[in-house]
Symmetry: C2
Subunit: 374 residues, 2 copies
């Protein structure tokens, strides 16, 4: 049976669809270009990873990548755009080290594993109000509460939130209001929807979902915020202001990752930019949610209003079929569908690099699987 | 004339030799393998940069890479081997944050720009004795002083030194003695010569010279040292002990850089390991120094006993020829020869990936250049 499904879904192509939550699939065209240029970049006769970050050629790449990223998200010069290392997890520490002191407090809105991790790490460096903003609603679904209904700290130094929780598959559809600076971890949704950067004071994202390979982290910070930051306790290379003054090159950056991000930004432009990606994300996630919602065979545990467009967890009514589902999916060239080790079940991540055809192949497979096991 | 030289040195091949100090040349075979595997790693149908670091396939790669690295440098299980991010510069901060407190002091032996940077960064986090161990000798050469002749702090928490100074081209041929822990930045010489790991308590190296692409940092730390470390002031992901307990995966590591490092380690094994690399480094550097030392046309400013095998700076007697030299070298497919922006002149970096034929091509070019301009 598995082979029948495998044959059916992969009949016209040997395309493998990779639903991994991160490090995640990159656009095939980007990998093909990287492959072509691996030993000879721009006719230099060497790889882009073999040249000095201070060379004119690399400086041009770095500058153009930043400009493209600014254009994609409409980021003005009021904000610094930094290409750093260490992943989003390092920003958990760094933001708190820079913004917290002995006389202030930060507010962390927690709706999943990553926002909780961010709060826990920040609390090592200062006073943190950790607010649980997730509830189980009357349908048994995870749901974001209305922030107007809870007690919140007054005048926090900043409010931190995670617009898309990668593991739980939960998305803020509205921005939280705050008197403090608004800080957001956009790791799993950046470049998949339009944002109004003026709403934020600092956003950051690990690259390995919608930007490029793991090991690169983008930080966008309002330059006005520098005056409220204290970098005395931070490693020098995590002084945002110094990095801004030095083009993110206080020390050697992750040059190859930056190059791949540049290719992804060019690819995004060719696809129609973030506007097109947002439309596609809505279309892809709707298709998968419709398939899940047909009956009780598959279930997504998130309230309708808070469903993620990027990470869609689902469980089988009969969980004893999980292993069979994953095994047959793999045989049908649908990989990376296992849920996070902390929650189990299945999860399909639909980042920008996932084409609509991939989601169609997945829903085709899911319907056939249901037909044989329902 | 330049084209004559270009034709001569590249007659039998279109091979470009890249002498960049870092990010530096990688072995061509490694890049070719990475190119072949870019879209399909180990038959998975996806790139190695597109899979979860927690997948069985990636775990195997990571574990094997660590084992190979241990074998190459004969590193026992008394030491943790960590694959981190942030470059050597982040370790400047991290080591001091972990080992310094209000009642101790560290000794930094400074013989160039990088050791000075390390000391300066450490002094932000504690008491640092910064010792200038470089002198101009009677021949006008930069020379390491005999540590027995200077006043040194007693019982430092640790002594930090930089066995090879990348910019000045200066190498410690003997290990400094110390009552404290011995800490070394091996960024520009790791895997190019045998070391006795038992002599050290902590070594670290940015990858972008002898290991792989920029954005990966290797840290080797004696597990006994953990008890003297305090990670309260560090970002959690820079807690060496926690990283050791978590296979360097507290958070997503730089997976593609780790993969490339793994390929480099395999390549090193095929070349005969560090023993062979050390012999080759001696041969390559001798060849270039002999060419420089023929007469006054070229000069290397370092005392014979302290010359680097990895980074060889040289100046032309007539510095007005610098630009011509670099331009004609480039036409002869010899690239990356400009000196560091802080010192000018020329520099040839002869890391492991530079074959002997590359140094032969360089010395051939230098002799011809001298014949036309001497």
């Amino acid at each position: 049976m598995a082979r029948t499904i495998a044959r059916m879904t992969s009949l016209n192509s040997t395309q493998i669809y990779n639903f991994c939550a991160g490090p995640a699939a990159l656009p095939k065209e980007v990998l093909q270009q990287a492959q072509r240029e691996m030993l000879d970049w721009r006719g230099l006769g060497v790889s882009v990873m073999e040249i000095s970050h201070r060379s004119a050629d690399y400086q041009q790449l770095a500058t153009e990548a930043e400009q493209r990223f600014r254009q994609l998200l409409n980021i003005s010069q009021d904000y610094a755009v930094l290409f750093l290392q260490g992943g989003a997890s390092l920003q958990f520490s760094n933001i708190a080290m820079a913004l917290l002191n002995s006389s202030n407090q930060a507010e962390y809105l927690c709706n999943g594993i990553w926002s909780n991790k961010a709060a826990l790490e920040a609390s090592r460096f200062g006073n943190v109000a950790q607010l649980d903003v997730m509830r189980i609603d009357s349908n048994g679904h995870r749901s974001l509460i209305d922030l107007a209904n809870i007690s919140r700290p007054t005048n926090p130094a900043y409010t931190h939130f995670t617009p898309n929780e990668t593991i739980e598959g939960l998305r803020f559809s509205q921005l939280p209001q705050t008197d403090g600076a608004l800080v957001a971890d956009l790791s799993s949704c950046i470049l998949s929807e339009q944002i109004n950067i003026a709403d934020y004071d600092l956003i950051y994202a690990g690259a390995q979902k919608n930007i490029g390979p793991a090991g690169l982290t983008l930080v966008v910070v309002k330059r006005e915020l520098f005056s409220q930051m204290n970098f005395d306790q931070c490693p020098s290379i995590f002084n945002y202001q110094k990095q801004d003054q030095n083009g993110s090159m206080i020390n050697t950056p992750a040059t190859y990752s930056w190059y791949l991000a540049a290719l992804v930004f060019e690819w995004l432009e060719r696809q129609g930019g973030v506007v097109a990606m947002e439309q596609l994300a809505i279309e892809k996630s709707n298709l998968l949610y419709q398939c899940i919602d047909q009956d009780e065979f598959y279930t997504n545990p998130i309230a309708l209003k808070d469903r993620s467009r990027m990470n869609i967890p689902f469980i089988l009514k009969d969980e004893s079929l999980n292993a069979t589902f994953l095994q047959q999916a793999k045989q049908a060239d649908l990989v990376g569908l296992n849920g996070h080790r902390s929650v189990g079940g299945m999860r399909a991540s639909l980042y920008n690099a996932m084409p609509l055809t991939g989601v169609q192949a997945l829903t085709d497979f899911m319907l056939h699987f249901k037909a044989h096991h329902g």
